[in-house]
């Protein structure tokens, strides 16, 4: 029965509206009896869904806005204000309908994302390609994706080559090329080409599924303002009932008391803050920025100090071996071979760079490492092919009691001054040679930092495990306020703590793995991560899926805009209620007109929040204008 009424809610609104029009027409024709009768029918029809909802809420001990309206309508019927009763019920239903429509718009960003989810996959089983629903793909399946097709699961390219639009995951719609062994993500689209992949993560484990889940939970998690408003409305609604009773007792004017009841409904106040958050978080998700909830938005907007990790955050994080120099009779390629075999057990990006270089030279890295030990922040050591090999920084050489010849030290310093990281290598406790590894600064770093300073960042700090010279080189180019080099992960944590103690609100941006402790310590933890690693998505408050610094500056200005929007809405809602209450007490606002203004204010706060969906970076607008000027 209830479900049936719900289904026909739109018809109920329409019928009640029609009856009201008929009522007014018969009133104009001078037939007041018919007018009253028709308006009563209109009221009863429109009241049914309202009463049901009020009753249901009451059963679970919740005071709903429907309850207030129900009481008011019954009151209005008692004092024979049929017009007002009919108009109020109609406006309430119609307003709800409009609200649902516009609310859907503020939620549209997430819906667009969800709609990108793949539905079918073509897999090869027993040698024949089959099209199956995406839920049935299993880890290890060989999946075929053709031009125009969606990647159904996360996986690795087995054969073929293609340009992929990764907007669903990174927010970046410029296609990127994928070759054998590259990772591809569910939800991304093959723009051009043909690839076959091995499924690695399926179902709810894919990065795309996790993004959706994160955003859904983020939109649900409430900011402090919202929590306050929630509590507030819990007390507010019964308080309004009580107040209107007092008004009635004092004035003996039932009409005034009922009007008061309707006007004081907390509509715009309750919905104002959440819609801003939902729209803001939705905007972020669409642009590859995951903000984990209203509280994060709130805090992020207050950040005045940015701390960056260098490698992988300010730089591209794709270091390359630029030079191999030996100082004994060992050949450079033998040195590379030994170091690379050892580094296969390391997860450090510099170690991985050495492995990559060896692979690029088609070296065979098979053969075990014995007694391998990772010296966190310093390097690695172990036995390879019968040799004891130590690979790492100066400190590790000192720790291992290996003396470095003067010429090698001079060479290392020169390499570092040119922006390289020098990696020292010793074989059988004798210094053997060094690798030079360099990483480029991101093209958008300068632009993003300048923008964020404009938006209110007062202090920018760089922390790096890298050497002084390399750090200095980056700082000179980007203009940091402070920098600290040759740090271990725990030192980074200490620096973040110190800045917090000095009274700064600190956001720490890192690549998410070795910076995880510092990211967790900061007021706001930001993780860069191409496609997002699991760790970064869990520890960070804000995840930049597209791995771009301009996304960081977008996120910062977005958080400020969202908080501003929320304040506007709250301020607007409170003032409307105050103005209306004054109007009621001075008897210039009536039941129907009060309801109208009330519903209009709810729509206005939603419309205001909708502006956030289209919120764009100021700079991008600027760029557009510049292009226009050039044209």
């Amino acid at each position: 029965m209830i479900a049936v009424i719900h289904q026909h809610k739109n018809k109920i609104i329409f019928v009640s509206g029609t009856f009201i029009v008929i009522g007014f027409l018969s009133g104009l024709l001078g037939n007041d009896r018919i007018k009253a009768l028709v308006l009563i029918i209109a009221t009863i029809i429109a009241s049914v869904p309202i009463f049901i909802k009020a009753f249901q809420a009451l059963r679970v001990k919740a005071f709903s806005i429907e309850l207030l309206v129900s009481i008011a309508v019954m009151g209005a019927l008692t004092i024979q204000e049929y017009t007002e009763a009919a108009v109020v019920t109609f406006l309430f239903l119609f307003g709800n309908w409009l609200e649902a429509r516009t609310l859907e718009k503020t939620r549209s960003s997430l819906k667009e994302l969800v709609d990108m989810a793949p539905e079918e996959a073509m897999v090869v089983r027993d040698g024949t390609p089959l099209t199956i629903p995406v839920e049935e793909v299993m880890v290890g399946d060989r999946v075929i994706i053709r031009s125009g097709g969606k990647v159904p699961v996360d996986g690795r390219v087995l054969s073929g080559q293609a340009f992929l639009n990764e907007a669903a995951v990174t927010g970046e719609s410029i296609p990127v090329v994928k070759n054998i062994d590259d990772k591809v993500f569910s939800g991304t689209i093959v723009d051009n080409g043909y690839i076959e992949i091995a499924a690695e993560k399926v179902g709810d484990d894919t990065t795309f599924a996790k993004i959706i889940e994160l955003v859904e939970e983020a939109q649900e998690s409430k900011s402090k303002t919202e929590k306050f408003l929630d509590k507030f409305s819990g007390i507010y609604t019964p308080a309004v009932v009580l107040l209107s009773i007092i008004v009635f007792v004092l004035t003996r004017d039932l009409h005034l008391a009922i009007t008061f009841l309707v006007i004081a409904c907390p509509g715009a106040l309750v919905i104002g803050a959440p819609v801003s958050n939902v729209a803001g978080i939705g905007n972020g998700a669409k642009n590859g920025v995951l903000v984990k909830g209203g509280e994060v938005m709130d805090k992020f907007a207050k950040v005045d100090t940015l701390v960056f990790d260098k490698t992988g955050t300010l730089t591209k994080g794709k270091p390359e071996v630029t030079d191999i120099k030996t100082f004994t009779q060992v050949s450079p390629s033998d040195l590379l071979g030994l170091a690379a075999k050892l580094e296969t057990i390391s997860e450090h990006h510099l170690g991985q760079t050495i492995v990559k270089e060896a692979k690029a030279r088609k070296m065979n890295l098979a053969g075990g490492v014995e007694n391998g030990e990772v010296m966190k922040g310093n390097g690695i050591r172990g036995d390879v092919d019968g040799h004891h090999v130590v690979v790492g920084n100066r400190k590790l050489m000192e720790l291992a009691d290996i003396s470095i010849p003067k010429e090698a030290l001079m060479y290392a310093i020169n390499q570092e001054k040119a922006g390289n990281t020098a990696i020292f290598t010793a074989i059988d406790d004798r210094f053997a040679g060094l690798f030079s590894i360099a990483d480029q600064i991101r093209e958008d770093a300068q632009k993003a930092l300048t923008q964020m300073r404009k938006d209110g960042i007062k202090k920018i700090v760089m922390l790096t495990g890298d050497n002084q010279y390399t750090a200095q080189l980056v700082v000179d180019q980007l203009g940091m306020d402070e920098y600290y080099a040759e740090l271990l992960p725990e030192h980074k944590v200490e620096h973040v703590k110190r800045l917090k103690e000095e009274g700064y609100v600190v956001a720490m941006a890192g690549d998410g793995i070795n910076d995880a402790p510092a990211i967790a310590t900061a007021d706001i933890g930001l993780a860069m991560g191409k496609g997002g690693t699991d760790v970064s998505m869990e520890t960070a408050d804000v995840v930049l899926m597209g791995d771009q610094l301009t996304q960081l500056s977008h996120a910062y200005s977005l958080s400020k805009a969202t908080i501003r929007n929320m304040r506007q809405n709250t301020f607007f809602a409170v003032s409307i209620v105050l103005v209306l209450l004054m109007g009621v007490l001075f008897r210039s606002v009536h039941l129907a007109s009060g309801m109208f203004i009330h519903e209009a204010s709810v729509l206005l706060v939603i419309l205001n929040a909708m502006r956030l969906i289209r919120f764009h970076h100021k700079k991008e607008k600027g760029k557009g204008m510049m292009q226009a000027a050039q044209a």
Partner: protein, 73 residues
Amino acid sequence: MTKAVFQLEPLTCPSCIKKIETTLSKTAGVESVKVFFTSSKVKVEFDESLVQASQLEEKIKNLGYPVLAAKVS
């Protein structure tokens, strides 16, 4: 323990959350209920030997919220 996710029509009133949460959590066999207001989803964890997903769906429907899609895992 079975988990079900019900997709509802867009929710508009915050009091709907309490309605659905209270009704479902009173049902025997239901372990936890979470209503996602923004995405209009209900996530329920329940014991399948005591209650069926279809019964939960029916309960939500009877409250006046049509279920558009259900996913049980």
